[in-house]
């Protein structure tokens, strides 16, 4: 409980610092929103008037406080470019990205756990070496390339799945799932390959530990000992990697969103950058930062749950 409070406190601190950094970074970038909005032929008066309307003529500190205060109420401000509220757009898109990341993670875990454990258990056999080599190859393939290959095989040749686009869950769950399969696979296969390496090495380490021999000495069969005593111990280092990977997926789904034309957060971010919609970019980045921080806190808490040695301090 105390741990939870401590972690939340550190999360809040990090979030505040992050918001400050994000704001400061975008504030010093060249490109005045008012000038961008009016084009090169605008009169200085018109620009000044628009600046006043946007509020960008106020001191930076005021602007920051105003923005940060809005964030606390879920108000991300109004776009300088499209003049609509940013908040709802981000929420919509964030949901999509979350589904993508979680789906990708699910694929990765379903792939890496059996593959990693088997690769470790068979590390002296040809099958283990083959699994290792496959995961090695998987790491080398970029996600977008995997995506294009998947589209070619399942969408173009077999025609079984849509090559792109997105249907919200609320609209049609079946279509929603069908649209997510390929993007999640292309994200998950690559992450799964990476994760396989970590699972393999964690299990290998555990395989040679004394307590596994103790488990067998008490009459556990080889496989049962690994399952019951080995894996809970191997889970500890693997969890760290899982947390990092989930963060990577949240932030890194951009390319795959492009390939599959999925309207996710990354897509929105690229759009914001292209339009010089600074407030939108700020909003997206801060949401991603907080999401990553939350993932880290959850990982930490799970860590403490899994490893009693961390608990009793």
């Amino acid at each position: 409980m105390r741990l939870l409070l401590r972690k939340l406190a550190s999360l809040l601190t990090s979030a505040v610092i992050a918001s400050f950094v994000v704001f400061a970074f975008l504030a010093v970038l060249p490109g005045d929103p008012a000038e961008v909005a009016l084009g090169t032929n605008a009169t200085p008066d018109a620009v000044a008037a628009l600046r006043h309307e946007f509020g960008t003529d106020r001191p930076l500190v005021t602007q920051y406080l105003d923005w940060a205060q809005g964030l606390l109420h879920g108000d991300f401000g109004t776009s300088y470019v499209t003049h609509d509220l940013i908040g709802p757009r981000i929420t919509d898109r964030f949901g999509v990205t979350c589904w993508l990341a979680l789906g990708g993670m699910l694929v990765a875990v379903l792939l890496a756990l059996p593959a990693g454990v088997l690769a470790a258990a068979w590390h002296r056999k040809a099958a283990g070496a083959l699994l290792s080599a496959l995961s090695q190859a998987g790491i080398a393939i970029p996600a977008f390339l995997a995506g294009i290959l998947l589209v070619y095989v399942f969408a173009v040749r077999a025609g079984a799945l849509p090559a792109g686009g997105y249907t919200p869950l609320a609209e049609d769950p079946g279509e929603w799932a069908r649209h997510l399969v390929l993007p999640c696979l292309s994200l998950g296969l690559v992450q799964g390959a990476v994760l396989t390496r970590y699972v393999r090495s964690a299990v290998l380490t555990v395989l040679h530990q004394d307590f596994l021999r103790t488990a067998r000495a008490k009459g556990r069969r080889r496989r049962a000992a690994l399952w019951r005593h080995g894996l809970p111990n191997a889970a500890v280092p693997v969890l760290t990697v899982l947390g990092l990977q989930l963060s990577t997926l949240l932030v890194g789904a951009v390319v795959v969103e492009r390939v599959f034309v999925v309207p996710g957060l990354g897509d929105l971010l690229l759009q914001g950058v292209a339009d010089r919609d600074l407030l939108l970019v700020q909003g997206v980045v801060i949401v991603l930062v907080v999401a990553v921080l939350v993932v880290n806190v959850v990982t930490d808490l799970l860590y403490h749950l899994l490893d009693p040695r961390l608990r009793s301090r």
Binding site: R2, R213, R216, A217, G219, R220, R221, N233, P308, R313
Partner: protein
């Protein structure tokens, strides 16, 4: 009462690919009998035990036969499924490292309960847990219910080892295999654990296969003993007979090497324990044996001798006493020279992590107000168990750590050097020996000086061009000593200098340490948990406990008339050959 033996092992072998690690191991074990297996590292004693229960690592293969009474199949070559019905039910095993033998993410009670439920001794979870607590109680763990709820890291080494014993004994097995169960523990804890094992074995008629490198300990636990060398049994017999009138030259040499009693001089066995692939043809001990001749080129069979033992040797020893005790080297009486180093009221506290933000920090006092004086030509031993503060003291004296309070003063021009416990970890594996030894000399190094240092610690001159991994543990410790001697220190510190070494080379290192301090008028300060080593090596001793000095004085006085009850307890806890033969004799 001669019934069928409980365990009958015939021609057991272990191979790693084409390399034989264990060969031709045959012995039998009766119910309630305690059989010791003695040998140095690489003798194959642990492999033998693991092979019996099918716990060998993947790359190793066992051959031969091992029949356990009540088991319809041969243990060697049986499937994992079959063996799993034997392990934990008919045969329990206790391992060397209690710190890692338990699953760190599982509570201790459930780990014991698992063994009970696995073999159907208890089927209900609650009943199994209750039985586990009873077991811990029988193993004399204070507050067994709390211990059962604890995770392994919350328990001390001795408590954990009781947990492992609980697992091994849960189903009241007929056979208990113990692989160096107390090597990692303090002597007083060792005594408790050993008493437990012998007590329970006698009470339950449990046979014990007790593996150890400690001859005196085996003598105090076991009825019979097997001596292994180079993967073979070289001698066996009643423990009293084998350890007082050894028939095999190796047993004899081993006894001579570990004799640290007053007036004796431990004699190292020449050469080193050979690697498994590099054993000589014929008798395995041939190239280190003082009595070897041409006959030994043919491997001797193990034959029974008149007194119920067996020996594999062409020239068995028949001498009544082990050896004519070699008196220790006569040393010119060493004057206690000038004071080299003075420590006053040394205190070291460590801050504990805060329990909540801004709370005042709690402190742990590792060392409290310890003072001492080191003089030229004197050897001071610091003895104590884990947590006594002895290593903290050495680090402060050697300037490797700063005291929280108190001072260390060195006389003008006094240099300090340290030799550490682990001869593997304390040498840079990528440096040649000559560079390792010359490093502290900086510009002043010359090939002649390096050669001189290597000779002083008994290493061949050609050692200079080689790398640390090409040397055995004992040789590496010599290299470490040579490096420490290079800058001509006035004080040499040694932290457990022989703890990681085999008995047969321990004597050499002790003599090297003795020699350099005697000849060069250096001050020596040795920290060790091993009372025998301190008594052999040192003039004065400090006994430490809980960060304080409980007793100090000349070694002879402290041993003959300990003043503090803790010193007495320590001295009594150490098994001594001759005094400690197991009651149930031959």
């Amino acid at each position: 009462m001669t019934t069928a033996p409980l365990l009958e092992v015939t021609g057991l072998g272990v191979d790693a690919g084409a390399v034989p690690l264990v060969r031709d191991v045959s012995f039998s074990l009766a119910r309630g009998e305690r059989l010791g297996v003695i040998g140095e590292s690489g003798s194959g004693k642990t492999l033998t035990a693991l092979a019996l229960l099918g716990l060998l690592d993947d790359g190793l293969r066992a051959t031969g036969s091992a029949r356990l009474d009540g088991v319809p199949f041969d243990l060697v070559g049986a499937s994992d499924r079959d063996l799993s019905t034997v392990r934990g039910r008919l045969a329990g095993m206790v391992f060397q490292e209690p710190m890692t033998a338990l699953n760190p993410v599982m509570r201790v009670g459930p780990q014991i309960a698992e063994t009970l439920r696995l073999h159907g001794t208890r089927t209900e979870r609650a009943a199994a847990r209750a039985t586990a607590v009873d077991l811990l109680d029988r193993l004399r763990l204070p507050d067994p219910a709390r211990a059962a709820r604890a995770h392994p890291h919350q328990l001390s080494g001795g408590q954990r080892q009781r947990g492992v014993l609980g697992i091994a004994l849960a189903n009241d097995p007929a056979l208990l295999i113990c692989d160096e169960p107390t090597t990692a523990l303090d002597v007083t804890v060792q005594k408790d654990i050993v008493d437990l094992i012998t007590g329970l074995s006698a009470e339950r008629d449990t046979a014990v296969l007790y593996i150890s490198h400690d001859l005196a300990l085996v003598a105090s636990v076991c009825h019979r003993v097997l001596v292994m060398y180079g993967g073979r049994i070289v001698e066996s017999g009643p423990v009293r007979q084998v350890l007082s009138r050894p028939a095999h030259p190796y047993t004899e040499a081993l006894l001579a090497a570990c004799d640290l009693s007053p007036g004796a001089r431990p004699k190292a066995i020449p050469g080193t324990v050979p690697a498994p692939g590099a054993l000589p043809e014929g008798c395995v001990f041939r190239d280190r044996c003082a009595y070897a001749d041409d006959a030994c080129a043919v491997r001797p069979e193990r034959v029974a001798d008149a007194s119920g033992g067996t020996v594999a040797c062409w020239h068995p020893r028949t001498g009544a006493a082990a050896t004519e005790a070699t008196p220790p080297p006569v040393e010119a009486p060493r004057e206690a020279g000038r004071v080299l180093l003075t420590a006053r009221k040394l205190t070291r506290r460590y801050a504990r992590p805060r329990t909540r933000p801004f709370a005042p920090r709690a402190h742990f006092t590792a060392l409290e107000e310890v003072g001492l004086e080191l003089r030229a030509g004197r050897r001071l031993g610091v003895v104590g168990e884990s947590g006594s503060g002895k290593t903290t003291l050495l680090r402060l004296l050697a300037g490797l750590d700063r005291p929280t309070a108190g001072t260390v003063e060195t006389a003008d021009g006094v240099g300090l050097q340290v030799v550490f416990q682990d001869p593997m970890g304390s040498l840079d594996p990528r440096m040649r020996v000559r560079d390792i030894v010359a490093e502290p000399l900086r510009g002043a190094a010359s090939p002649g000086r390096v050669a001189e240092l290597l000779t002083a610690v008994g290493l061949p001159a050609d050692a200079a061009a080689r790398y640390p991994h090409q040397f055995s543990g004992g040789q590496r410790q010599r290299i470490a000593i040579a490096r420490a001697l290079a800058p001509k220190p006035s004080v040499l510190f040694a932290d457990e200098p022989v703890s990681a070494l085999d008995v047969s080379v321990r004597a050499q290192i002790l003599d090297v340490l003795r020699g350099v301090t005697g000849e060069r008028g250096m001050g020596l300060c040795v920290v060790s948990h091993d009372l025998g080593v301190i008594r052999y090596l040192c003039d004065d001793v400090m006994v430490m406990r809980g960060g304080r000095v409980v007793e100090r004085g000349p070694v002879a006085d402290v041993w003959s008339a300990p003043q503090h009850p803790y010193t007495e307890q320590l001295l009594n806890a150490v098994p001594v050959l001759g005094r400690s033969f197991s009651g149930k004799g031959s």
